[in-house]
């Protein structure tokens, strides 16, 4: 009898060790759900700074909508003047590599781009294309490291370590530590560590605004590269949940008409 109690006590102990792991994953998943949008339209300014005081500014209008499991995104350059009118169309498939088209006004024609290098930098900034996509919680081992206060908000400190090298290569980092606001599940800050485990980039999210669908969206995102001193900021000027744009709008043929 005594032995039975002891086993139960040991089992309870083991379960208690597992609990933080499960909690961490749930927190990460909820944080992902808190920012999920099926469709949106926005105008943003992307500032890319080289760490030596130089800055490149790009103004981009973006529309995104999912049709039959395929997320279609159209980005159009509004500024600077020399690239104004350039547009890019991306079809993001779940099960195969993206389709991409580019329209350059100087060429006055649309060209399909087949690229195997989509994983690295987003438009030449410190943001990676992976940062722009919704993370997949299943790609990581999650661990709750504790709590911390970020921008006056009480946050969970959740460490997410890539499950394998392929995922690391795809995402460009080995692990991230996210600071997720308790209750609201909003990621306020995320630290990315390189393949050697050293701090690589720090993402700061602010100006969260509640949208019509009840979800939040950060209107200010800053990515600082701690290793090369560069930083990039995405400032959202206009944001709209949902999009009334037809599927034909997201077609290669339409790029030239924009």
């Amino acid at each position: 009898m005594k032995r039975k109690y002891m086993m139960a006590a040991a089992l309870a102990l083991l379960l208690s060790f597992n609990l933080p792991g499960q909690d961490a994953r749930q927190i990460a998943e909820k944080a992902n759900e808190a920012i999920e949008f099926k469709a949106m339209e926005m105008a943003a300014t992307l500032s890319i700074r080289d760490g030596r005081g130089n800055e490149r500014i790009r103004q981009i209008a973006t529309a995104s909508r999912t049709f039959g499991g395929v997320t279609k995104t159209l980005m159009k350059f509004l500024a600077p003047a020399d690239v104004k009118g350039a547009a890019m169309l991306i079809y993001d498939y779940e099960d195969r590599s993206d389709d991409m088209w580019i329209f350059l006004p100087a060429l006055r024609k649309t060209r399909r781009i087949v690229s195997s290098e989509k994983g690295k930098s987003f438009m030449g900034s410190e943001f990676s294309n992976a940062d722009m996509a919704r993370p997949n919680a299943g790609q990581f081992n999650h661990k709750l490291l504790g709590s911390a206060t970020i921008a006056g908000k009480d946050c969970w400190k959740v460490e997410s370590t890539c499950l394998n090298e392929d995922i690391e290569d795809e995402l460009g980092y080995s692990r991230q530590v996210a600071y997720i606001e308790k209750g609201a599940y909003l990621t306020r800050q995320a630290e990315y560590y390189d393949f050697d485990g050293k701090l690589f980039k720090v993402l700061s999210l602010s100006r969260f605004e509640k949208q019509a669908n009840g979800k939040y969206f950060a209107f200010h995102m800053e990515m600082q590269n701690r290793q090369n001193g560069r930083s990039s900021v995405i400032a959202i000027g206009r944001f709209q949940v949902g999009s009334g744009l037809e599927e034909s709008y997201f077609s290669a043929a339409n790029l030239e008409k924009l």
Binding site: D50, R56, F77, V83, A86, L104, A106, L107, S115
Partner: protein
């Protein structure tokens, strides 16, 4: 004669003081650091260094490690798998910030109406057909063909640029470890500045650890064989040791770092710091044999009295000779000249104070009658033969020297300057083998960069860049030229169909260029593009890869690039590692000329002052001129190039080589003054001072001979040439100078001299009398 009296009275102070000075100088010596950076050899104000700094400021430091793979076909699966594994590991490592290989270099092309962006090798071919398709694709990719793979596909190249703050040793060790972790059948060769610097560092450290004790050991054995007495070994060697500590201790004290050339400073000390002591010991032994009745004070006092001037003069000539290096353009040569000159001055001081102060406190050594004159020993017989030749056949002797001079002098026409830093290393070193591979199978190992300034999206500038690239590529020395214009043109090929007039051309409008570049920078790696154009699109670089086998070819290629800088208002600067190598090569020639001119004039002037005779200056200069012409001629015949080490040779050879003549003149003058005939005086001089000169010369040559054990090729060549030069100087002093003396009978030889006859007459020499 107050000096000898003071010296003997306060002998302990004269012994202790230098030891304390040396001990104090050992403190900064602990902070000495080897600097293997050959660029640092040139003064910072040189345009080549300033231009390199401007390029690095604009585009970041690019000094990659090059890894060459050699096999029958680099597109075969095992080789590609190995390169892929290494490339991936290097990309993941924080120690490297830019990696270029078949798996990293971009392939941008147009196909079936689409622009294809990807690495040169996206997937490793599984069949022969796939492999051949890939080969064809690579042939059409000018960003890869001839750059990361050789035109015959026998060689592949992987470049990895160490990140900021990563030392050369760390980067090289990492590459070597990764190569071990990714083994393969291919032959692998490393190259690149970090590897060269790491090799220089390792070899210099090894040389410092091995050559110094070896030199001291060799010297100890030689001194024992020469003097057969412990004091004959320990006293000159202690002078050497103290002088080495002083000269090496001065380097960190002056804030200078150790260089390859700095290795020569202690070797120089081993070779020459005991010269003066040797003469005193030889004279002590000679007097001990001649006058067994004298006590140590009388012997040492007379030796000092008799030798102080020739020792002082020979030391002065050596100091002046090595000080000639202070006029050299290379900083380490200047530094070595200065510390060696101070070291020699210290050795002189020790030989005239520390050494006699110890000697006078010692008991008299065993009398060795053979040391009075060496007439009956084998060196004596040899010296006797030489004396016979110069006294009985002076014209024949002079004629033989003249013929030798002409034959070797003809080699001067074949003398070339070394233009490649890697020649520091042995010929079979992987770095030198891979340099040959790069020159033969790739665009060349030399890299120069032209910097353009202006609106880099302006098609007019890009077109001029294209024209400049074509002009350079037309030169036989130039392999590849890659610039922003190349990328824009490549983009135009990918974005337009071959039938389109825009295909393969720089676009007409600024907007089109901007859009091409925007698209390129969006393709994944903005930092890759920033090697070619800066963040603000105001400065662009044009990388020129070329090969140059000689200074002439180097000058030709550089000249063409400089012409572009002069002609084009937007092309503002020419720089890069090769420009520094070019500057180093030309500075070797200029440095050689400056130090040679300085040393020659200074030595001739010193001889004139010592003997108060122009004839002495001219006659004393003859062996030096003879030795140097023969030396450079021999370099021409043997194909040894003038480099950073051999360019130091003349100053050192002049400084040391003239000593023998001075000693000879000095004694000959004394013997003539003593009433001997020319023939007898020359014989006597050769049997007495000739022995000291020979021992001295052989000890110097032995000292330098340890450089044959150096791990650096240039120091081995230096050893051969300095030995040859000193041998010639010795032969001149033993044959040519006696022959010319008997032939010309110059007036300065019959001027007054300290009287040798006093010793034989039994009169107390003045020095001994006052003690």
């Amino acid at each position: 004669m107050n000096y000898e009296r003071t010296l003997f009275r306060y002998s302990r102070i004269f012994i202790l003081l230098p030891v304390l000075v040396a001990l104090a100088l050992m403190i900064p010596l602990r902070h000495a650091r080897i600097n293997p950076d050959l660029n640092a050899y040139l003064p910072g104000e040189l345009p080549a260094r300033q231009n390199l700094a401007r390029l690095e400021e604009a585009f970041g430091k690019y000094e990659p490690i090059l890894i060459f793979f050699e096999t029958d076909d680099v597109l075969k699966t095992p080789t590609l798998e190995r390169i892929r594994g290494l490339s991936k590991a290097l990309n993941r490592s924080l120690k490297f910030n830019r990696v270029a290989s078949l798996f990293d270099t971009k392939n941008i092309r147009g196909e079936d109406g689409a622009m294809i962006v990807g690495p040169v090798v996206k997937r490793i071919p599984e069949s022969e057909a796939q492999r051949e398709r890939l080969r064809e694709e690579i042939r059409g990719n000018e960003l890869a063909y001839g750059l990361v793979v050789s035109e015959d596909f026998h060689y592949a190249l992987l470049l990895a640029n160490p990140a900021k703050g990563v030392s050369d040793d760390e980067a090289v060790a990492m590459v070597k470890a990764l190569l071990k972790h990714h083994p393969g059948e291919e032959k692998v060769y490393l190259n690149g500045m970090p590897y060269l610097k790491s090799e220089i560092q390792a070899r210099t450290t090894r040389d410092m650890a091995i050559l110094l004790p070896l030199g001291l050991l060799v010297m100890a054995v030689f001194l024992y064989m020469s003097f057969r007495e412990k004091r004959g070994v320990l006293l000159p060697l202690s002078v050497v040791a103290l002088s080495i500590i002083l000269s090496m201790g001065l380097l960190p004290l002056f804030g200078w770092e150790l260089s390859i050339i700095a290795i020569l400073a202690p070797i120089l000390m081993i070779a020459i710091a005991n010269n003066y002591g040797i003469h005193i010991i030889a004279r002590y032994q000679e007097l001990n044999a001649l006058r067994p009745d004298w006590n140590m004070r009388q012997i040492v006092g007379h030796a000092l009295w008799h030798l102080d001037k020739p020792i002082l003069f020979t030391a002065l000539t050596t100091i002046v000779g090595v000080l000639g290096l202070a006029t050299h353009i290379m900083l380490p040569a200047r530094q070595m000249g200065i510390v060696s000159a101070i070291g020699v001055a210290f050795a002189l001081l020790l030989s005239l104070s520390f050494l006699p102060a110890i000697l006078v406190n010692m008991k008299k050594g065993k009398v060795r009658s053979g040391f009075a004159e060496v007439r009956h020993s084998w060196p004596g017989r040899l010296l006797g033969r030489l004396a016979d030749v110069s006294t009985h056949h002076p014209r024949l002797a002079a004629g033989t020297f003249a013929a030798f001079l002409i034959i070797l002098g003809l080699g001067l026409t074949r003398l070339h300057v070394s233009i490649h830093n890697e020649n520091i290393l042995p010929p079979k070193h992987p770095l030198r083998l891979s340099t040959a591979i790069a020159n033969e199978h790739f665009g060349g190992i030399q890299h120069a960069t032209l910097m353009w300034e202006g609106d880099m999206k302006d098609p007019a500038i890009l077109r001029r860049m294209e024209a400049a690239a074509q002009q350079l590529e037309a030169l036989p020395e130039v392999g590849k030229v890659v610039s922003l214009a190349t990328v824009v043109r490549k983009m135009s090929e990918a974005l337009n169909d071959p039938a389109d007039p825009r295909y393969g051309n720089i676009p007409e409008t600024r907007e089109a260029v901007a859009q091409y570049l925007e698209l390129y920078s969006m393709s994944g790696e903005p930092e890759g593009l920033e090697q070619l154009v800066d963040f603000g699109y105001t400065r662009a670089s044009m990388a020129v890869q070329f090969r140059a086998g000689s200074l002439k070819q180097f000058r030709q290629a550089i000249g063409q690039m400089e012409a572009i800088v002069k002609k084009d208002p937007n092309c503002v600067l020419l720089g890069g590692q090769s420009l520094l190598e070019y500057e180093l090569a030309t500075s070797v020639v200029r440095g050689q000329a400056y130090s040679l001119a300085f040393a020659s004039v200074a030595i001739a002037l010193l001889l004139f002052l010592i003997f108060r005779s122009v004839a002495a200056g001219l006659m004393g200069g003859l062996p030096l001129a003879f030795a140097l012409i023969c030396n450079f001629g021999l370099m021409g015949w043997l194909g040894i190039r003038l480099d950073i080490a051999t360019s130091l040779l003349s100053s050192i050879a002049i400084g040391i080589g003239v000593d023998y003549t001075i000693h000879f003149f000095w004694r000959l003058r004394c013997e003539l003054e003593g009433g001997l005939s020319y023939a007898r005086a020359i014989q006597k001089t050769l049997f007495t001072t000739g022995r000291g000169i020979t021992i001295n010369a052989i000890s110097v040559m032995l000292g330098f001979a340890v450089l044959f054990c150096s791990a650096l090729s240039i120091l081995k060549a230096f050893a051969l040439l300095i030995l040859f030069s000193l041998l010639l100087c010795l032969l001149c002093a033993l044959v040519l100078i006696p022959a010319l003396s008997i032939w010309l009978k110059p007036h300065f030889l019959t001027k007054n001299c300290k009287h040798e006859k006093e010793i034989h007459d039994g009169r107390r020499p003045r020095a001994a009398a006052i003690l």
